[in-house]
Symmetry: C2
């Protein structure tokens, strides 16, 4: 068991981060990108030891962890490339005009880092959303030192990855305060980190209860700070009638795989499906049920997640008029998640807000509506979501435009004939949605746009060219995209 | 005296805004821009009546109000142009690849509106930061209905401008819920508006106490919402030694004008000046004092502001070892602000946090340092600022790089050899700084980038081209700037 960081340690770590900030924020985009690429190399250098350590701590299979390691390295290197491109700086220049009355000043704006960022990793992504995950990569790209609080479910994995980052920081000749790693199974450690005056932003991926607590702590400070918490979702899937009739079997197969992928332990797991009663829905449900029955239960990430799954599942199933439609034929062993499909009517769903809560694991609820109006009522009733999916023909979309518009209004990512699991790492990705999916729907935690969470604009007024940062100099020495007198370009 | 909006009225207004949102958010960029341009026309059509009403309510002179009206109209029309350009949508496209394993989805992202925005105007800008001011223009551009709570210091002006907006909404054939205007001298009205579930964001310009209260209400909701509050600043001006020696008289003239402009009633008023003791500072202070003595006191915006000025000024002057250096020779009449310069040592300033508080009015404090190190200590000690200014030669900047970096780190706009008053309306403007200057330093309330406060990204995954919004269609029918496969352009 790792020791909780003491107040003394936290104060020291934050002091070092603050001092390092004043050096690191002036590192060029290339220097920041070099650090990120070096971290990727150091993580690769950890080799099989890293995989074995994570396997032992998380119950995740090796193949999955290999893919996640590749993803983590891709995040670091692709965000590094984006960092270096300077696009994210939103550089804007309005040139002055001395002849105007009053004289028009020369103003040039770009993003600068906020300061030390505290990162809370996720238990379900020991690499990609943990120690050297998306939040850390974004904060380092933005020019912010990072303090990671290790997830207590995989402290050894976290410490190994931290050692890779620490090596990279040293090999780039940067002050050690650029990165720190602390342990803290107790919530007091998280609270102390967030409430420390040198902390300027927070990144978090995890449960609603956890994320909301950090958000509140961040806002209750004397100097409130932005807390970006990605808190999961039920990721509704709307089954539109024409499409369902055409492809009920195929959709059932897609969803069965998505619901049970990684024992359902994804924040994009499709937790609610909504369809209209009838023959097509029956065929769909039967196929889905058969596939779920055949699913082999597998161990969950850790005891806490498993206990939570059992409790949340039992709570959902205890709802009046909610019935189990299918569970895995093979009995679940200790710590294993039971693949489960439940059903209820639209009326039942609308009357019981508890059924909207995420059941983190291989569970999904099919809401059976009497008609399309009930589907729209459900869409109107749903809270904010990371993703929403429609299974539809183009004709379905045209015929149900009100429903489609409503669904669009509650989600961060809107999927057409696909499944919500699988979050592509690219600039166009949005991972974050209206509350309670995340604490600020205006930002994303996946994709290089996530860098902007940790940066703020500063406008330089009437500075001589020689004293401006390279990003804003008249000659554009870094050759970055800038908007000059309202026109984007590289000139 | 206007009647406070009742709970019933507020509920009705918010219901209408919510219904209008679902229509207005689907208006094209051009339609939104047309509305904004029509509002500008309707405001112009109000003619002299608007100026006279504002003069009677605010004590601001006609010339100033004419300039402010022009600025307001420029905001509406220039933000309309930016809205129509689509640049602010941050459209990003990553095209799919069916051959990749697993298949790479097609993902396309753009900003969409948050929902109804409640706007609280400023008393010191009855046009430009009030009813049809920057926040309203940004929200309408983003696609959000707006509910303005009239400032109780200029309710008739606000109602007149509201009538112009209401006319414009009607003439564009939009539902009336796109804009609403309510009165509320009581804070209960503001609280009810912010806590209404249909409210999705808030814009505010005013005092720290007011803005912080709205921010807290927004965060305490079951569904927290972003509250962008611009809460003023002391806008420190650092007088570097070589420059001060060269231009002490000129700088004194610039600052005297800036401190007393509009009776000091600007959030960018230079409230603190920092210099190093010596002959140059003496010459500067003498000149500044002479100019302040000659300033003719003028009426402040309203009784509340005047009372507040007297109180805050008295509180600052009551500090141990703070002394008055100059006040206007002509005695101030009732409701008039007394132009005042006070001085203190760096030690006194550092020991008394009260001296950092904004004294809203024609007041400024000169902090006299023993040396450059004390100047840097003051910079380290200052909280977040809308602006910071350095009066410096290039040599000064090179010699005092630590000070310059520290100042840069606490401000939203960084001015070189100028004055902070005068906020240019352009894309490169940043008006918002680290807390407590504003509640979220990542956004601006002046310039078209302010639109982004009220919009969030949505990613469309694998949608057929015909069903995508025009902004994201493959052929780019709106000819907007988009980043396609990481490369910005218009293709």
């Amino acid at each position: 068991m790792e020791t909780n960081a003491t107040t003394e340690t936290i104060n020291q770590v934050m002091e070092e981060a603050w001092n390092a900030f004043h050096i690191y924020r002036n590192q060029s985009l290339k220097q920041r990108a070099d650090l990120m690429r070096q971290i990727a190399i150091e993580i690769e250098n950890l080799g099989d030891l890293l995989l074995q350590t994570a396997m032992a701590e998380t119950n995740l299979p090796e193949a999955r962890l290999r893919v996640e390691r590749t993803r983590t390295i891709f995040q670091l290197t692709s965000y590094a490339a984006h960092c270096e491109s300077g696009q994210w700086l939103d550089a804007r220049i309005d040139t002055g005009d001395a002849n105007r009355v009053p004289a028009k000043p020369d103003i040039r704006k770009m993003l600068v880092p906020l300061g030390p960022v505290v990162v809370f990793g996720a238990s379900n992504f020991p690499f990609a959303y943990s120690t050297a995950g998306g939040d850390t990569a974004c904060a380092l790209a933005a020019g912010c030192p990072v303090i990671v609080k290790a997830h207590p479910a995989h402290p050894k994995t976290s410490a190994l990855v931290a050692s890779a980052i620490i090596n990279a920081v040293a090999s780039q000749g940067l002050p050690k305060g650029v990165f720190a790693h602390v342990h803290g199974a107790s919530s007091a450690v998280g609270e102390a980190l967030i409430k420390h005056p040198h902390t300027k932003a927070v990144g978090f991926t995890g449960s609603f209860a956890g994320g909301k607590q950090l958000f509140d702590w961040g806002n209750q400070r004397k100097e409130p700070i932005p807390v970006f918490a990605e808190m999961g979702s039920v990721n509704p899937v709307f089954l539109l009638p024409e499409k369902l009739k055409l492809s009920s079997i195929e959709i059932a197969q897609q969803l069965a795989a998505s619901i049970t992928l990684s024992v359902g332990q994804f924040c994009t797991n499709p937790g609610i499906m909504i369809g209209i009663k009838g023959e097509a829905l029956d065929i769909f449900l039967n196929e889905l049920s058969e596939l779920i029955k055949k699913t082999i239960p597998a161990p969950m990430l850790h005891e806490g997640i498993h206990k939570n799954y059992l409790e949340k599942r039992a709570k959902a199933l205890s709802g009046t008029l909610v019935s189990i439609k299918a569970v895995a034929d093979i009995e679940a062993g200790s710590n294993e998640g039971i693949p489960t499909i439940a059903t209820c009517s639209a009326k039942t769903f609308l009357e019981n807000p508890l059924l909207q809560e995420e059941v983190f694991g291989p569970y999904s609820l099919l809401v059976c509506c009497d008609n399309a109006d009930e589907m729209t009522m459900i869409a109107n009733n749903l809270s904010g979501q990371l993703t929403a999916t429609v299974m539809a023909t183009e004709n379905d979309v045209t015929l149900h435009s009100t429903l489609i518009e409503q669904v669009k209004n509650i989600c961060g990512r809107f999927i057409f004939n696909g499944v919500p699991t699988g979050v592509e790492v690219c600039l166009s990705m949005q991972h974050g949605g209206p509350f309670p999916a995340s604490t600020d729907s205006r930002f994303t935690s996946v994709g290089a746009d996530g860098i902007r969470r940790f940066a703020r604009p500063i406008a330089f007024q009437n500075w001589p060219d020689t004293l401006l940062p390279d990003e804003l100099k008249q000659s554009n020495p870094l050759n970055i995209w800038r908007t000059v007198n309202n026109e984007p370009g590289r000139s």
